[in-house]
């Protein structure tokens, strides 16, 4: 096994991580990722059956409207974005509200490698080796009160460095939300790195959410605030196009989006389309969160 965050990780830690991985690895992807066979095949790293998306593609094909709506221009426009110092405040319905620097987060929660599929609502996908830690650990630290039901995440709003913010079509800053039980799921992580390197601005540096069973836009970037709230927050996309973007945004090939068929997707780097899988293939870990809910109505 290869741990990829530059931080030292003790063997015991490794062991525990491995166990939590195996426990949650339903489709074998994560389990395979953690077996010693991290193969190098034709210059590409494999994770079980999946080929990791090349770093170059992950860092040069980005939806980050605060910089540009053009996916290939984001990397360039974000190059000089200041990511340090950076603080994330965790407030609202919690017993111990706190503000963390990114260094605090890394020190405290020790990011580990998590290889996840990322499915964009635009019907393309990647396989990304994140460095991150479970969001649940941060939540345990701040102790949500019994009233807290949802999390509201906010991206930094810095017009001087984010030219896309001049686009008045959207109601900035970027906001996303999760239900508290979704946030507590072990798959939900806060990521600080990719491929054992610190996140680059175009990927949401210095700290972002990753919820791999939901469409990519839920995985909010460059977070400055997490607030525990009682009522379901309205995300930027829900406000912009309520018929198209719901609060849940779980990957679901059966719920069609007005623009893109969600039945299939193109994995970046592949020629043939793949059939899209419910919950992006993480159903055995997350489907129970939505028991009894009509996922067509709650899209």
């Amino acid at each position: 096994m290869k741990t990829t965050h530059p931080d030292a990780v003790t063997p015991q830690k490794l062991y525990q991580n491995r166990r939590s991985f195996l426990k949650t690895a339903g489709n074998g992807l994560l389990a395979a990722a953690l077996t010693p066979a991290l193969l190098l095949k034709a210059g590409r790293r494999m994770a079980g059956e999946e080929t990791l998306t090349p770093y170059e593609d992950i860092t040069h094909y980005n939806n980050y409207y605060e910089f540009s709506t053009d996916k290939v221009r984001v990397a360039k426009l974000a190059r000089n974005f200041t990511t340090a110092p950076w603080e994330v405040s965790v407030t609202g319905l919690v017993d111990k509200p706190a503000t963390f620097s990114v260094a605090d987060l890394v020190e405290k929660f020790r990011p580990e490698e998590r290889i996840y599929r990322l499915r964009c609502v635009e019907a393309w996908s990647m396989v990304i080796p994140w460095a991150g830690f479970p969001l649940s650990r941060l939540l345990q630290e701040v102790a949500p009160t019994s009233e807290a039901r949802y999390l509201k995440f906010v991206t930094v709003h810095r017009p001087s460095e984010m030219p896309g913010l001049s686009n008045k079509w959207y109601d900035w800053p970027y906001v996303e939300g999760l239900r508290l039980d979704e946030a507590m799921n072990d798959l939900a992580i806060l990521a600080t790195g990719i491929y054992a390197k610190d996140l680059l601005p175009q990927n949401g540096a210095p700290v972002r959410l990753v919820v791999p069973w939901k469409y990519g836009f839920k995985s909010i970037k460059s977070i400055v605030s997490i607030e525990l709230v009682k009522r379901q927050p309205t995300s930027l996309w829900m406000a912009a196009a309520p018929r198209e973007y719901g609060f849940y945004a779980n990957v679901n090939p059966d719920v069609s989006h007005p623009r893109w068929s969600q039945a299939s997707e193109r994995r970046i780097g592949e020629f043939r389309r793949r059939r899209t899988v419910p919950f992006n293939g993480y159903g055995d870990q997350v489907a129970s969160l939505y028991e009894g809910m009509d996922l067509r109505a709650n899209f």
């Binding site: 094909y61 996916k71 893109w260 068929s261 299939s264």
Partner: protein
């Protein structure tokens, strides 16, 4: 004779290399391995946009010719229209062959489920008879019905704009510009038509 018109007549062949430029640019990017991480989507979008641009330009020829009395512009209407059809066909071909690789099951699902696919495909289908009959011989043979048939372009171009608009994510500024331009061109035609009678 108007010297501008004379020069236009001599230089209008430049429309052909100019119409080929977007394709040349895509080929260049292909060889430079610079078609983004998602090359099929990239070339689908670029060929589609080019088709729309050329169709809109083709529509602009007649109003412009009337306004300026530059008769040398006249053949551009056909040329630009045909180049528009060329790019629309590339666009459709890329979608069928490269994007879906003849996956008829998925394609059928798309066609049923996505109104923009239906509208785009309809627009292309309507262009076929226009392209086939765009030469002088057909024009002569069809006489008055040729004119009627070729009015279909006033349906095709708005359909292409709708096809584009339905794929835009919330920020409608760009399709609105196209919509306004095409609406203005149609209005110009209707104006000349009804102000004469």
């Amino acid at each position: 004779m108007n010297p501008v018109n004379l020069w236009l007549g001599r230089l209008r062949w430049l429309a052909h290399p100019l119409a080929l430029a977007p394709l040349a640019w895509l080929l260049w990017l292909w060889f430079a391995d610079d078609l983004t991480a998602n090359p099929i989507q990239f070339i689908t979008h670029k060929t589609g946009k080019t088709a729309l641009n050329l169709l809109a330009l083709s529509l602009a020829v007649t109003p412009l010719r009337r306004a300026t009395h530059l008769t040398a512009l006249a053949p551009l209407r056909k040329w630009l229209g045909l180049w528009g059809f060329f790019y629309a066909s590339l666009h459709l071909g890329i979608y069928l062959v490269l994007d879906y690789f003849f996956d008829w099951q998925l394609l059928w699902l798309e066609l049923r489920e996505k109104r923009y696919v239906l509208v785009g495909f309809t627009a292309w289908l309507l262009l076929v008879p226009l392209a086939v009959t765009s030469f002088k011989r057909s024009q002569k043979r069809l006489g008055q019905s040729w004119k009627k048939l070729h009015r279909l372009v006033y349906l095709v171009t708005p359909l292409a704009v709708i096809h584009f608009t339905w794929q835009v994510k919330s920020d409608y500024r760009e399709p609105l510009v196209y919509g306004a331009a095409v609406a203005a061109l149609l209005a110009a035609r209707l104006y000349t038509r009804y102000s004469k009678t």
